[in-house]
């Protein structure tokens, strides 16, 4: 079967594996591009993680120890930007590149040359962003949300670099999203109707529409910041007739769909893994699809719950409170379906399943703290405290990132052709699980006790809790090096993986050999 690839040479866009650096520079192969996305995102995860280590080291004790406050602010800002745009989003795009064509029986992505571009502009975006840290006056220090006037009146001269890097990240995401949509709409194998698509494909399809709808709005917001700062426009400057609160509306109109962009593909991953290791069909497939679509639709109607303290009229606060709480209904449907899938299943606990289970529990904890934050009157207490930090790290680290780890373990045998080291992987899981909770759970209490976020120093009563959090942080950071070791070991060798290493797994990706040949499904499979 793998010799099929060699016979395709007359198609000029399918150069067969040229060697050296040019293979990676000029590749239009979805598997190559997927691998590059995944490696890039892991490198960014380590870079952004190192910044988190700086933050936790500074916060280990009250007072200013290691870094000055301005540098601390740059660390919180760039940590956020890198983790959102450099780690989580490219990891999902990488998974989409690898898996979507294989799951729908397509030979490649629909627009392979654009695929190459959308990856290769990313390293430049992050090189620009990271380089700005070394400029005079420092890099962005206004938080990843870049609220005006922090990003306009009070920002450093390097803000233009921040703006351009966000532009490039946005273009990359938009191109990636267009590619996913065209691929799913036009390249499904015969018989692969929409309601037969695996949930990972469905969730990515919906995510791609969210990306197309909101990334241009982000591009508009950074452009307005750019012109306000350098070309004396007054979009957000009250003195010139603008309004700084308008910035928050525009930003969160992008920002709230953005947080679902970072979680919907996770839902798809978990919906593939839990049935595989429960040896049962996914419970409530179509309700999963509709719930995903409902979450995506509602995400456009809730943005102002990030802004309860800006002095909105009570009627608006009540609207956004109820609209936000409404999201817990489709999300609850999903959690219910995952639990129902496991009910009376014949469950085994390989590492992908462990991460998926941890995802369900810890993401739900993050969802509950989100519900608490949605309650307008109490949000006034929680706003801008560590409670918020705890909330979004539960949904993004033990949510999105745990699901990416689960996906990596689940599909590593397919990618590399080798089984990963299960013992080492279990070490990675248990170290991550314990440390992530030591890291983020006490933050809830620090926040409820009134510790504000984004500060390099704090009052003495928070000293013990911050020490515990920092220890959890260092442990979590180090645990991820085990993951790196598992992946490298698995790429280099190991027990040969069969085409379908998980006996309960379903989907077209398991019908091709492991490792997946360079070209798959050049003849579309028949889906019944």
């Amino acid at each position: 079967m793998s010799t099929v690839a060699g016979e395709m040479d007359h198609h000029d866009h399918h150069h067969h594996a040229p060697s050296g650096i040019t293979r990676w520079l000029f590749t239009t192969n979805h598997k190559d591009i997927g691998s590059m996305y995944l490696w890039f995102s892991f490198i960014m995860f380590l870079v952004g993680g190192s910044m988190a280590m700086v933050i936790r080291a500074e916060l280990f004790q009250p007072g200013l120890q290691l870094v000055d406050p301005h540098f601390f602010n740059q660390m919180t800002t760039v940590h956020g930007l890198i983790m959102v745009f450099g780690a989580v989003m490219p990891a999902f795009t990488g998974l989409a590149n690898w898996m979507v064509p294989m799951m729908i029986g397509a030979p490649d992505m629909a627009l392979p040359r654009m695929n190459n571009w959308s990856f290769w502009i990313l390293p430049f975006a992050f090189a620009i962003l990271l380089a700005s840290l070394f400029m005079e006056g420092g890099g962005p220090a206004f938080g990843w949300t870049f609220y005006a006037p922090l990003s306009t009146t009070y920002s450093s001269d390097s803000t233009a670099l921040f703006v351009f890097s966000v532009h490039i990240m946005g273009i990359s995401s938009i191109m990636g999203a267009i590619n996913v949509i065209v691929t799913i709409m036009n390249m499904r194998a015969p018989g692969m109707t929409y309601m037969k698509m695996p949930l990972f494909v469905w969730t990515w399809f919906i995510t791609a529409f969210l990306l197309i709808a909101v990334m241009p709005v982000l591009a508009g917001a950074v452009t307005m910041v750019l012109t306000d700062k350098y070309f004396s426009t007054s979009f957000f400057d009250a003195a010139g007739g603008g309004d700084p609160v308008l910035f928050q509306h525009i930003f969160w109109f992008f920002g709230h769909p953005e947080v679902y962009i970072m979680i919907l593909p996770s839902f798809g991953i978990v919906s593939a893994i839990i049935p595989a290791f429960s040896r049962k069909k996914l419970f409530g497939y179509s309700s999963m699809v509709y719930a995903t679509a409902a979450i995506a639709g509602l995400s456009f109607l809730v943005w102002a719950h990030h802004m309860f303290t800006t002095g909105m009229p009570v009627a608006a606060e009540i609207f956004f409170m109820y609209a936000t709480m409404l999201i817990s209904v489709p999300t609850g449907v999903k959690v219910f379906n995952w639990v129902a899938t496991m009910w009376r299943g014949s469950i085994s606990f390989e590492t992908p399943m462990l991460f998926a289970l941890a995802f369900v529990i810890l993401f739900t904890i993050g969802g509950f703290s989100g519900l608490m934050l949605a309650i307008t009157p109490v949000d006034f207490q929680y706003h801008d405290t560590y409670f918020v930090v705890a909330h979004f790290h539960y949904v993004l680290v033990s949510g999105a990132i745990f699901s990416i780890m689960a996906a990596a373990y689940y599909w590593l045998p397919k990618w590399t052709g080798h089984m990963y080291d299960e013992t080492l992987a279990k070490w990675h899981f248990w170290c991550s699980l314990i440390s992530v909770n030591v890291l983020f759970f006490p933050m809830h209490f620090a926040g409820l006790a009134g510790m504000p976020r984004r500060i390099p120093d704090y009052s003495l009563q928070f000293a013990d809790i911050n020490q515990i959090v920092s220890i959890g942080g260092f442990a979590f950071g180090l645990s991820q090096l085990i993951f790196l070791a598992v992946v490298i070991k698995c790429v280099r060798g190991g027990e040969k993986a069969p085409a379908k290493p998980w006996d309960g797994a379903e989907g077209l990706e398991w019908t091709v050999p492991s490792p997946a040949p360079y070209h798959t499904f050049e003849t579309p499979p028949e889906v019944k």
């Binding site: 099929v4 198609h11 030979p107 036009n186 709808a213 990334m215 003195a239």
Partner: protein, 200 residues
Amino acid sequence: MTTNSPTPNPAPRADNARVVRRLLFVVVGMFGFGFALVPLYEVFCDITGFNGRTKNEQAAANVRSVDTSRTINVQFITRVNKGMPWGFEPEVKSVRVHPGETKVVNFLASNPTGQNMVAQAIPSVAPGEAGLYLNKTECFCFNQQPLAAGADTKMPMQFYLDPDIPDHIHTLTLSYTMYDMTANAQPDVLASFDAATSAD
């Protein structure tokens, strides 16, 4: 799986192009929508009083009835923007007015620096809803205010509350923030400094 199909891509290329064109249309549209939010927000705030926006233009001093059965407490808050060296204060902290009744409140500004400066005051009203019923017939906030080095001035603000103001509003707060506009001053405002010097 073993047959060598000449068409690896089951969809015709034209079909891809059509979908891409439509998606690009959405992308461009949403980029435009981001900017369209600016005027939309403006209109939304003007209609609803959202975010304490108040009409910053001269209201007609039309004939109206005074509703002596109600008294509303109007409070004044002033601040200068960060880095702005002016002194800026209301003469009184609050006044009690009947809806429909005209009042004048003076604001005191001083420029302690050695430079001629121009400033602009930006109003905001809380609760936002009340902003719709606050009408100013005369205000220093309508225009940029020049103030020569070391000078001080008394700036009047004349207003009335629309008698239709909802019953549940008993207190409203009018806040002014003074911004330094010297760098972006209008030419005719700057010209007033020259006029003052030549008159000496």
